[in-house]
Symmetry: C2
C-alpha cells in the first residue's frame, strides 16, 4: 500500500547524492535517499552523501534536487518503466490535467494515458524535471548553499550528460535497473541519445525524436541570438534579478527570446494559414508599433513563458543544448554509437521541421545502423514544424506503439 | 559635356518636390529641381515646390532628399535606363569599389559592370537610396524642418509605395520616361512590383527577384522580433539616441536584430559547412558566454551593420516591408496584377531561400500569368539562402541577360 501510494504520487523531487569523485559518465549510485512531500502533488526526494556532485565541466554542485512525476505502476519485475525526457521549456508534467503547480495540462497528453501508445495501464511512466530547470529540480533559481542566496549567474554550465546522470539517480532510487524505453523529442531526444551512450545496459530501447547527434551551427545561432536578446533586457541585471520587485525581472528579454524560438518551432505554412496579414486592429496600420496578429501571438507566447519560466534556466538549458555533441571527448562518433547500437532505436522526423530538419534524423539512423545497430526511421507528415513532436501525438503514437510491441516481445 | 559629366557622377541626392495634394499613386511630377554636389562623388539634387509630400499613411514630409548613383550613359532616346532597387540595408552603391562614403564595394558587383548582364557600356543604370534610409536620402536621421532636430521616432511610417513615388521623381528629373527594366531582390523586388502596379507606363520590363506579392506572417514575425529586440536596448531611448555620446547609441540592439536577420538570410547548409561546431577558443567551452565560431560570425555581422546603419531607419524600413501587400487598398490582387501584366516580367527563386521561399515567386509568376501577363520563372540552385540573390550573380546574370535581350528587341 505504501509503495502503491508512493508511485501514484504525481510529482516528486529527488535531492541527488553528492558525487564523491571527479566526473565520469559511469558514476556509481550511492548515498542515502529521503522523500519530502511538497505542496499539492509535489514531493521532494533527497539523497545526500556529503560530497559535491561533479559536473562534466568540472564545476560542482553541493545540493541537487530532482522533481519528477510518475503514472501507472511499476511491475514486479520492474520491466515496464518508461522514462519520458522533456524539452527545453517542458517540465515533469508530461501527462495530466491542469492542477496545483501545473498551470498547463500535460505536454504529451494523447501520447501518454490509458489506451495511448504510452499506456499508463501497462507502463510505469516517469518524467523528471531536468537539472538546470525551474520546475522543482535544482537550477539557477535554487538556493546556493555556499551563499544562502539564489545561484543566479553563478549556477554552472551544465550538459545533457549531467542531466542524464541526474535522471539515472532517480532510476536507481525507483529501483529501475533498466528502462523499457527512454523517449523524448528535441532536447528530450538529446537526453535519450546520451542514455544510450552513457548507460546502454540501463535501457531496453530508445526513441529519440526530432533531434540530432549534435547541435548544428544554425541551432547554435538561434540559441545564441535568443540568449543575447534576453541579456539585453536592462532588467536582466547580469542574471542577478531575483530580488527585483515583482514584474521587474527580465520578462521582456525572456519574452523576446521565446518569440524568436517560437518562430523556429513552427512553420511558414502554419503562420500563413493561421495569421496571414491580419491586423490586431484593422484601423491601426501606419504606426511603427501597430501590430499584426502574428505579432500579438508572439507576444502572447513570449509573455506566457516569461510568467512561468526562469530566465537563468533558459540560458543554462539553451547552452546545454548548444553543447550537445555525442562525439565530444569520446574519441569518435563511432565509439559513442556502438554503445547506442546495443538496443533497438526508433527515430522520427517532422516533415515541416526547419529547426531539426529531417536530414538530422536520417543521419542519426544511418550512423546507428552503420555502427551495427537497429534503428528504424519514419517521417511524420505534419505542417506544424518542430512543434510537430508535441502536436502530432496520434501519428507518433502509431509508430511508437508498433515499435514498443516489438521491443516488449524481444 | 556637361550632361556627360552629370551622368558620370556616382552619387547624387534629389530633394523631392513637395506634393501639393493628398496621397495618390499617380502623382504628377512638379516643382523646380536643383543639384548640389556633395562630398566625394556625392551629389544632392533637390526639388522644392512649397507643399508637403503626402505619404500613403496621410502623414507628410516637408523636405525630401534622394541620394542616387548612376553608371553608364543615357542614350539619346532615353531607352536604355535600368533602375536597380536595393534591399533593406543596401544603399545606392550597387556597383563600384570601396570609396569615400562607401566602406563596402558595390553590393551587386558581378551583375552590374562592363560585360555583365547589367552592362554599364550598354545601359544607363540608376540606384536610389530609399526614402527612410540613412545613406543620403531622407530618413529618421535627417533634420526635421519643423523642429530643427533629427526626426528620430517622429519620422513617419513609410511604405514601399512611398519609396517608389520618390524614385519616380528621380526618373522625372533624369528625363527617363520609361525604364528599360526595374530590377531588385527582396525589398528591392517589392519596389519593382510596385513600379509595375503604380506606373506601368513608365516601365518596359520588370525583374522582381526573391520577393513576394505580400509579406507573409513569418516574414512579419522575423521583422517584428528584430524590431522588438532592437527596442529592448536601453540605449535605444525610444528612438531619441542621436545626441548620445559616440558608442552610446543602440548598437547592441541593432546588432542583435541584424544577427537574427542574418540567420534568416543564410541557410542551415552554409552555416554547417562554414562553422560546424568550432569554438572561438577550443579551451573555453563551459562558460555560459563562451562562444562558438558561428556566434562570433553573427557578432561580426551585427556590429558591422551597427557601425554603418541607423537604428531608426532599420525600424522604419522593416515596417515598410511588413506593410508590403500589392493588394492593399486596390480592391483585389487581380486589379493590381493586371497593371503589372502589361510588360514582360522575370522572377527568380533561390533554391535554399527559407525567408522568401520559392513558392512565393511561383505564386507571383502564376498570378501575373493568370492576369494575362508574361512572367518567366527560374530557380537558381544555390546553397546561400535568401542572400543568394546577392551572391549568385553569375547564375542570375545568365537568366537576366537572356530576358533583357528579348525585352530590348520588342
Amino acid at each position: 500500500m505504501r509503495i502503491k501510494r508512493f508511485f501514484n504520487k504525481r510529482l516528486r523531487s529527488v535531492r541527488l547524492p553528492f558525487h564523491p569523485r571527479a566526473y565520469s559518465d559511469d558514476i556509481p549510485a550511492s548515498g542515502a535517499w529521503s522523500i519530502d512531500k511538497g505542496v499539492g502533488n509535489r514531493n521532494f526526494l533527497k539523497v545526500v552523501d556529503g560530497q559535491p556532485f561533479v559536473l562534466e565541466s568540472g564545476e560542482t554542485l553541493e545540493h541537487i534536487e530532482m522533481a519528477y512525476e510518475t503514472w501507472g505502476e511499476l511491475s514486479e519485475k520492474s520491466d515496464n518503466a518508461v522514462l519520458v525526457c522533456h524539452a527545453l521549456t517542458g517540465d515533469s508534467h508530461a501527462y495530466g490535467d491542469i492542477e496545483e503547480g501545473h498551470p498547463t495540462p500535460g505536454w504529451w497528453n494523447g501520447l501518454i494515458g490509458p489506451g495511448c501508445a504510452l499506456d499508463t495501464e501497462k507502463y510505469f511512466i516517469v518524467c523528471v524535471n531536468v537539472l538546470g530547470g525551474c520546475q522543482g529540480s535544482t537550477g539557477p533559481a535554487s538556493i546556493n548553499p555556499k551563499t544562502g542566496k539564489q545561484f543566479g549567474p553563478d549556477f554552472p554550465v551544465i550538459t545533457i550528460r549531467d542531466i542524464v546522470r541526474c535522471q539515472r539517480r532517480v532510476a536507481d532510487h525507483l529501483g529501475i535497473d533498466k528502462w523499457n524505453c527512454v523517449i523524448g523529442g528535441s532536447m528530450g531526444g538529446m537526453q535519450v541519445l546520451e542514455w544510450g551512450v552513457m548507460f546502454p545496459d540501463r535501457v531496453s530501447s530508445l526513441a529519440p525524436l526530432a533531434t540530432t547527434l549534435r547541435a548544428s551551427a544554425q541551432q547554435i545561432a538561434w540559441s545564441a541570438i535568443g540568449r543575447t536578446s534576453l541579456s539585453l533586457d536592462p532588467r536582466f541585471r547580469g542574471g542577478n534579478y531575483y530580488r527585483a520587485a515583482p514584474g521587474d525581472g527580465p520578462t521582456a528579454g525572456l519574452a523576446i527570446a521565446r518569440s524568436l524560438a517560437q518562430t523556429t518551432y513552427r512553420s511558414e505554412e502554419v503562420y500563413s494559414k493561421r495569421f496571414g496579414r491580419h491586423l490586431v486592429d484593422p484601423r491601426s496600420i501606419y504606426g511603427l508599433w501597430d501590430r499584426f496578429q502574428v505579432e500579438s501571438y508572439l507576444d502572447y507566447h513570449g509573455e506566457k513563458l516569461a510568467r512561468r519560466f526562469d530566465a537563468n534556466s533558459y540560458l543554462v538549458l539553451n547552452r546545454a543544448m548548444d553543447l550537445h555533441d555525442l562525439e565530444r571527448d569520446r574519441g569518435s562518433l563511432k565509439n559513442a554509437l556502438e554503445r547506442i547500437a546495443r538496443v533497438p532505436v526508433i527515430t522520427l522526423s517532422i516533415s515541416s521541421d526547419a529547426l531539426y530538419p529531417a536530414y538530422q534524423q536520417e543521419e542519426l539512423k544511418e550512423a546507428i545502423n552503420q555502427a551495427g545497430g537497429d534503428c528504424e526511421y519514419h517521417m511524420i507528415d505534419s505542417p506544424d514544424g518542430h512543434d510537430g513532436f508535441l502536436l502530432a501525438v496520434k501519428e507518433i503514437g502509431v509508430h511508437l506503439e508498433s515499435f514498443l510491441s516489438k521491443v516488449s516481445t524481444k
